[in-house]
Symmetry: none
DNA sequence: CCTGGGCGTTAGGGATCCGTCAAGATCGCC
DNA sequence: GGCGATCTTGACGGATCCCTAACGCCCAGG
């Protein structure tokens, strides 16, 4: 569950945010001034921070600096309309986004989702996961129950082709051409041997394949 | 220099942005509709994208989806005031920020800086540590049990490549090209010799490698 | 009941790849 | 020019992998 810390001194805003965020399954904690807010960031380690610039005890940019000193937790700033120079100061201090009051709750929630999405580790590398094993295509690595599975180059090529086409059928001809070359188009023997080896290394029950499925007469399909 | 692509069909906006961004030392390219915009993203690989939602040929969210399909380049959306549901749709489609027209140029520039700052990869942890030795990539230094390990230039290049790709497999071709040059692509001899030297200097049991692993037929992998 | 095709499984020979060693060749420094 | 460090190159045993053939199973059709 995503944890949100709201730092604001207006009870009505706190209440509205708490209700709306809780209803959408966020975990909400609050603070009513900069000092206790900074302490709450350190204590609760929220996933995202919503910060009102008009706090009674500190300047908003100082709060941002205080947070940015040691963590890159996303910060969404709230402020009254009009203070453009304050917007610039907040963003340059390290805030991630800036919403002017009065704001639409839907917009705030969308910006919240965007901030959390950006902060979460980018799924840059294509990783295929199943309940029984994991295929990291970028690292060329297969893990099963925490241990690396050793694949030969040919086995890996075959698995990679099938995994990149997860869910779709790949014909024998396609597989043979990609892995062995055009002149091996009809050596379906090879496929049977190597599919069997992959099943032995990956399937929980190699004789009853759950992931590397045979489509008789057609080809094979990787089911994630 | 940061490269910005502006996709907008209003000449006045394009002009204003071009002038302001160029003056602040951004490199600006422009497109006037979604189709050419998507092509420009693929061709120019901008560091950040400014996108008007009201394009003549495509819906703005479709442009966002088209970009997000293959890259995480930051997207700042421009739109006329008021369409709150469009804001939500754009942000959920993968936009990073949303600015309503008319906008203050200072604010846009600040949001641009914030987007670029977030996107720039955090400075790589320049130190790789294992239970048996430590690699300081910045200082070009390897320490083992408190003492410096002396590496030749070639050994260091090889180790650095593998360490920067920690966990990922690096093919022999990649290693040979990076260390010896493109014409040595097939001299896998060299690799065998130098990997053996690194193992002798770093591995606790050079004959049973724990960190510099061989993936037969494919390449090598540094396991931290 | 027989037959043939598609598939899964196994095993071994031969080819390829890898680790190791050592002897030149080359470079840089004094 | 001498000398040590470093880089290239070749060769060899052993490990690994690929190809191939053979066999059994299942099922559909004759």
């Amino acid at each position: 569950m995503t944890r949100v810390l709201v730092i604001d001194d207006e009870p009505s805003i706190l209440r509205a945010l708490r209700i709306n965020l809780t209803a959408r399954n966020y975990e909400v904690t609050t603070a009513i001034d900069g000092t206790s807010g900074l302490a709450a960031v350190a204590r609760d380690r929220p996933d995202v921070l919503i910060l009102d610039m008009g706090l009674p005890d500190m300047d908003g940019t100082d709060v941002i600096h205080g947070v940015r000193g040691w963590t890159s937790t996303p910060i969404i700033v709230l402020s009254v309309w009009g203070a453009e120079s304050q917007k610039v100061a907040a963003l340059d201090a390290g805030a991630d986004d800036y919403v002017t009051k009065p704001f639409g709750m839907d917009e705030l929630l969308a910006r919240l989702r965007a901030a959390v999405r950006r902060a979460s580790p980018a799924p840059d590398e294509p990783v295929v996961t199943t309940p029984d094993f994991t295929i990291d295509l970028a690292a060329k690595r297969v893990t099963r129950r925490g241990a690396d599975v050793r694949l030969t180059p040919t086995e890996w090529q075959l698995l990679e082709l099938l995994a990149r086409a997860a869910g779709r059928l790949v014909t024998q001809r396609q597989l043979l051409q990609e892995v062995w070359g055009p002149q091996y188009e009809s050596e379906s023997n090879y496929l049977r041997v190597y599919i069997a080896q992959l099943r032995r290394k990956l399937e929980p029950e190699p004789s009853r394949p759950r992931y590397l499925l045979t489509e008789p007469g057609m080809g094979y399909r990787f089911q994630a």
